[in-house]
Symmetry: none
Subunit: 370 residues, 2 copies
């Protein structure tokens, strides 16, 4: 079945509000849609962040928190009820060979994943969106929260879902597409703004939806997004020749989404190129060599002429007498220089003499890069 035939077939078979945004509660609107009628459901539900007081950056400016009412739930139990409700309707609407995608963070994704399994879906993969430019942890109290998690599930273990394996492999330079994807957060020209401020606090990047729709739908397939927001799903679906249905409560988001999707054009060659993520730069931190046993804490390093010496500590810092710091900082401090490339400055001794620690970095890269 070709593209056009498929579209005609889908339209004829059921009465769906295709390529439209429905305003209101997502569960109520889903109740109005027929059984087994959509090919994919992409959902970006509220994360239930449970944020505390105000957060200030080191420079004194305030972080613009997600404090919208739609993200507030009284208890985990209330959030679980909400999740079960929309997942149940979604399952009824989904075709037997359709798939579900949900995105979330550690605040909600475990509850969502449990509910997905309890509702009878079969998880196919969890996917990590690694943010190339996440917001830092300003207070230095935790690890930088640098990713979000997506769940991809079919309606059951035996379902024959769509997975465009070749397309994914091609997109990834002839290597199987992995479960960790790197994209920047949504910003720049792509980020919808009104009067200088963002329209939606959590707009998703089109690159993310592009990969999902390309991987798991065929041209003409119908994608339902019950938390449509500013319509990333609709915009990408239109560009990729897929049909879409959006549901959202907020008139402001709906207006912005309609305008955006109207302006979206079917994809051309040049756009494909820009949508692809740049290949991740292999970057090796000095600490990795220690964690991986290429260099032992307690090892003594020297510069090439053995004028300075320092001892490696467990955290990858170096110690020289009363001074200590990273390989770069300590090298600079000892030389009285403004900066120093620790990789080429510091050397270790092996059977064949003195070698720069950069040699160990090369060894590590060779051992770990495909």
């Amino acid at each position: 079945m070709g593209v056009i035939e498929r579209i005609r077939h889908n339209v004829a078979a059921v009465e769906l509000p295709l390529d439209r945004i429905l305003k209101g509660d997502c569960v109520e609107h889903m109740r109005g849609l027929p059984d087994k009628s959509v090919d994919m459901i992409f959902a970006d539900p509220p994360y239930n962040l449970q944020l505390g007081g105000d957060l200030f950056r080191p420079d004194g400016s305030q972080v613009d928190a997600v404090d919208d009412d739609w993200d507030k739930f009284d208890t985990f139990a209330a959030y679980d009820r909400f999740t079960r409700d929309w997942l149940t309707e979604a399952r009824r609407i989904l075709k037997d060979n359709g798939t579900l995608w949900v995105i979330g963070s550690y605040h909600n994704i475990f509850r969502v994943g449990t509910a997905v399994q309890d509702a009878g879906y079969w998880i196919l993969n969890d996917i990590i969106w690694r943010k190339s430019n996440p917001m830092p942890n300003f207070k230095g109290t935790r690890f930088t929260n640098a990713h979000e998690t997506l769940i991809w599930a079919s309606k059951g273990e035996k379902a024959r879902y769509t997975f465009n394996y070749r397309a994914m492999k091609t997109l990834n330079d002839e290597l199987q597409m992995r479960s960790d994807w790197e994209f920047p957060i949504c910003g720049g020209q792509e980020r919808l703004k009104k009067g200088g401020t963002k329209v939606h606090p959590t707009q998703k990047p089109e690159a993310l939806l592009y990969r999902i729709l390309l991987a798991c739908t065929k041209p003409g397939d119908v994608v339902l997004d019950p938390f449509f927001g500013t319509g990333t799903t609709g915009a990408v679906a239109k560009r990729l020749g897929r049909r879409w249905i959006g549901i959202d409560r907020e008139g402001l988001y709906i207006e912005a989404a309609q305008e955006r999707i109207a302006a979206a054009l079917p994809l051309d060659e040049s756009a494909v190129v820009t949508m692809q993520s740049p290949r991740a730069q292999p970057k090796v931190a000095f600490g990795l060599l220690i964690e991986n046993g290429l260099l032992k804490p307690g090892t003594v390093l020297t510069d090439a002429r053995r004028r300075w010496r320092a001892t490696v500590r467990v955290d990858g810092s170096l110690e020289a007498g009363t001074e200590s710091g990273s390989i770069h900082k300590l090298g600079a401090a000892l030389q009285g220089a403004p900066s120093c490339n620790g990789w080429t400055f510091w050397h270790y001794e092996d059977a064949n003499g003195l070698k720069p620690i950069d040699a160990l970095r090369q060894t590590y890269l060779l051992a770990t890069q495909p």
Copy 2:
């Protein structure tokens, strides 16, 4: 408290089977351990029912591998009970400021995460272990499952957990450590083998435990691993000068673990030292700089961009027009910020330009420290 003192203190305070492996069911053995007695629990529980074999109900009976829908529910329910049971005991044993780490895959991590939250733990981060050399998806039916997920949680929202921020930042070449970590899977010399075959199917890499223990424990802290397997947690704990307790049912794993840990060498105490936060440095009152002549009353200070200026008074307060106060208070007031670090906010002019007054503090510390 130094390393040795800390170890003595911990040993004296409670009667723990330190640096030993307990053979048998983890929940039963945990019941024998005292309340609030360990600093960290690292758990690598069985991942899933469908993979079969090593999942047991709390009563010790084995869960059958089944694929019927209602049985699936039965299976999930059994897994949830099992998870709640060990998490509950773990919580009782954990010190109020201790933390929990759990590792899992999409088969079980959502259920575990939900149980962690329901038990009252407070999730601090979820961490992604990105495998640099994952097993490919042979059939080409899904994305390559190239990661596992870890959950890091405290006992509650207000708990004051250990996080060695500076050590992590140093380990990562002076950038904040992110929530996505890349390591190779466990192989090569590190992988325990007997007669050419691997001893344990899911042996974790030491690099993973190294980062966890370095980030979230102090030397001498006690780590409990209720699913000890071949003892990666124990081997790394010994290396890093931490104490450990392991629990496992399988005699084969216990033997291998004991041999392995006996062969592990503790690092020299000086190498275990990590970079400290400035908070751990001795405090210097601003007034000390004036009393010691490093800064003269009447000196004009400005911020880095010279937007505000203030005059140093004899008592170490600053004056700016009608406002005055400590270096911190005045900095905060002028910016309209809730707080301000006066040491880095205020600058003085010397021959080479504008410098933060923190430079003077460093000069003072260097001159007065032994």
